[in-house]
Structure formats: structure tokens, C-alpha cells
Point group: C2
């Protein structure tokens, strides 16, 4: 049976229940760890589940900051320093990644609290997560305030990109499934994936075909 | 081996290859069909892979429109009529869903071209996808133009919500995996999922526990 909820039903739900529901119904999400550092050198690591790219030229990536959450250390660090890292989560670190959402005091680094080791490389000023195999060094570009509910979008440009060489395909596609990247639903559910297939570029009156995955090495 | 690309490497890539790469490295994405209708009653159906919720109170959902794509029929319909539907994709319809990305002429409805049947209900003015088991009726709220690259964010409020009753959990979580919703990577890869686990609300100095999935029925 299909259940039906009106907007009034949704608004009448208990707040936490509605949060679970609305966080679920947007579909599977990209979930990543964002690493940053404040001007005194104190590191911060936080999990975000609303990350999306908004264009390839220049390569722009965006995430959503909710004003009432522990996210605020991340956004204040980014606005102060201009640099941050986005690190994919795999099944070996998803529990530590989830634990970064606890409300630690500002003077405690989630790198230390969760045991996720920081990694610095190629002169990028913000810390990467060593156990993450896909890592992005991002430079802050723009902040958009959404007046409807006080959330903030942080847009950055990809400045450094690290990925497993054997997950790179000839046409530029990166095989996240092979890299072990996980996805999430709702506020707390983590999932691995199983590929159905890659499909050819769609054209009117042309049958779709399967694209064979050809890794570079 | 981990490969390393600088922003200059990314900008020097062939355009289509860079598009595949940048579309991949944001992580797994929500992929849905957006149904709309123009003022003359002509329906439109298009696949979008950058859908994300931006808050539960009110329940707001957003998607990204790239100016240079077939997406433009969807956004012009939404701006003209104020209503649209977001329909989850499952493994029975992902090929038809992908096919909606072909550049059909304006006078051809992708519902007809792909064989995905439209469904109208509870007086909602825009067409749902009948074979989609999670369907959202959405009312347009705001448009945000991103000057960095000309993309547009369309924000809407959830007005009607349909989901399988047996996928609803007591705490409000909807089990998308049980509902058969698929996720995507890059421009063309579709995936089913396998849950690792749901994790408890994280607190400092408290061990995370697994949340048992308790469906309502």
C-alpha cells in the first residue's frame, strides 16, 4: 500500500520524526568528511550528507550548512581560511565518520576524538583524511544564504584531486563503487552499492546500450 | 597507487572527460525524474541527478539546472506553473528514466517517448510517474542563480508525499533500499544498494550502536 502525506501531515509530525522523514525522501546522498583548520591551527572534521557538484568548468562543488548544527565550526573555518578538504567515506571508516557529528567542544579536534588521522600534502593548507582514498582539496568561492530557512550553501572550486589510479576509466568516469565509497540515506544509514550498469548517452530514437567499465590499469 | 590532479590538470582535460570526472567525484547522488507540464498542458519528464533536501521545517527540496542542457523545459515549466513532481527511480525503470535525457523536441512528451505512464492524483496539477513508488508533489518556492557558472538552483516545498507504507519506520526514517530506489554516479551509472547499518545519534564519549530497522507494518 502507498501511504499519502499532505504538507499539513508533515508539519504536524513530531520534529525529530519529520527530520528523519524529510532527510530520507530526497534519495541516496553523497556523504563525505570535510576537513578544515582555524586561524590558530586547530583542526576540525565534520560529516556532511548534502554534497553535490554544480559544474565541471570550473570544477565547482557545493554543500549545505544547517545553522543549528555542529556544522558551524566547519563553515566558520572555511570563511576564515578559504580552504578545506572533502574526503570520501568507505566502509572501513564510516563509524568514525558518523562519530564526527557529535557535538565536541571547539578545542577538541574530531581527528583526535575519532582516531581518523590527518594528512597534509602538496602544500594544501587544510587537512585530508588519510584513510579516505578519494580526497579533494577545495578553495572557497561563494556563500549563498537561503532566506527560506536560514541554511547556507558553501561553493568551492576543486584545487587538488586524489583518487585511486585503478578506479579511473578511459572516458574520465571514476568508479566510486570500486573505490569503496559509501552512500547514505536519512540521518544515519550507510550503504555500499552494486552497479546495475552504465548506460550510453541517450538520443531520441536510439536504443540505449551498456557501457563496459574499462579501468585505466 | 593514488593519482593526483591539480586544478590545471583538470582544466586541461578534454571537456567531456572532465565532465565525467567532475560528475563522479562528488560521490553517489540522488537521481529522480521530474515531471512538469506547460501552460498549454504539454507534459515533460526529465532525469536530474543533483537533488538534495535543504531543510525539514518547512520541508524544502532543491535541484540544480544546468543552462546548456535539456533541463530547460523542466525549469521553464516550473517557473510558469509553480508545480512539479519528483519521482524516485527503481531498477525497473532506470533505463526509461535515463532515456528521458535525450533531447526530444518540445512537442514530444518524454512520458510518451519512453513509455513511462503519467499519473494524476489528489488534485496535484503536475504529472507523477506511475511506476515510481516514492513520489513528491512539490510547489515552487525560490530560484537562485549561481553567477559563477550560470547554473540555477530551484527550491520547492513538498506539498504531497507518497511512499510505500511498509518502508516507513517508526522514527520517521523511510527505507529507500527496501523501496528499491537506485542511486547514480557520474553521468550514466546506476546502482542498487546494500545497507551496512543505521547508526545511533552520535555523542562525545559514547559508543555508537546499531539501530534496528523496524518497519511500521
Amino acid at each position: 500500500m502507498q501511504a499519502y502525506s499532505t504538507s499539513a501531515d508533515l508539519m504536524n509530525m513530531e520534529q525529530r520524526k519529520r527530520a528523519h522523514l524529510i532527510n530520507s525522501i530526497g534519495g541516496f546522498k553523497s556523504v563525505c568528511l570535510i576537513g578544515s583548520v582555524d586561524q590558530a591551527g586547530q583542526t576540525n572534521l565534520a560529516i556532511f550528507n548534502s554534497i553535490f557538484h554544480i559544474g565541471a568548468n570550473p570544477p565547482l562543488i557545493c554543500f549545505v550548512v544547517r545553522p543549528d548544527t555542529a556544522d558551524r565550526h566547519t563553515s566558520s573555518n572555511i570563511l576564515a581560511t578559504g580552504s578545506y578538504t572533502i574526503n570520501h567515506i568507505n566502509e572501513y571508516i564510516y563509524k568514525q565518520a558518523h562519530q564526527t557529528s557529535a557535538r565536541y567542544a571547539k578545542e577538541i579536534s574530531e581527528f583526535d576524538a575519532t582516531g581518523l588521522e590527518a594528512e597534509y600534502k602538496n602544500k594544501f593548507p587544510a587537512p585530508f583524511v588519510r584513510k579516505s582514498v578519494i580526497q579533494l582539496g577545495v578553495v572557497y568561492r561563494q556563500r549563498i544564504d537561503i532566506s527560506l530557512n536560514g541554511t547556507i550553501l558553501i561553493i568551492g572550486e576543486i584545487n587538488q584531486l586524489y583518487y585511486p589510479e585503478d578506479c579511473f576509466c578511459e572516458d574520465g568516469y571514476i568508479d566510486l563503487e570500486k573505490a569503496g565509497t559509501v552512500t547514505c540515506t536519512g540521518l544515519d544509514s550507510y550503504h555500499t552499492t552494486k552497479r546495475l550498469e552504465r548506460l550510453s548517452y541517450a538520443k531520441p530514437d536510439k536504443e540505449l546500450t551498456s557501457i563496459a567499465i574499462k579501468h585505466k590499469s
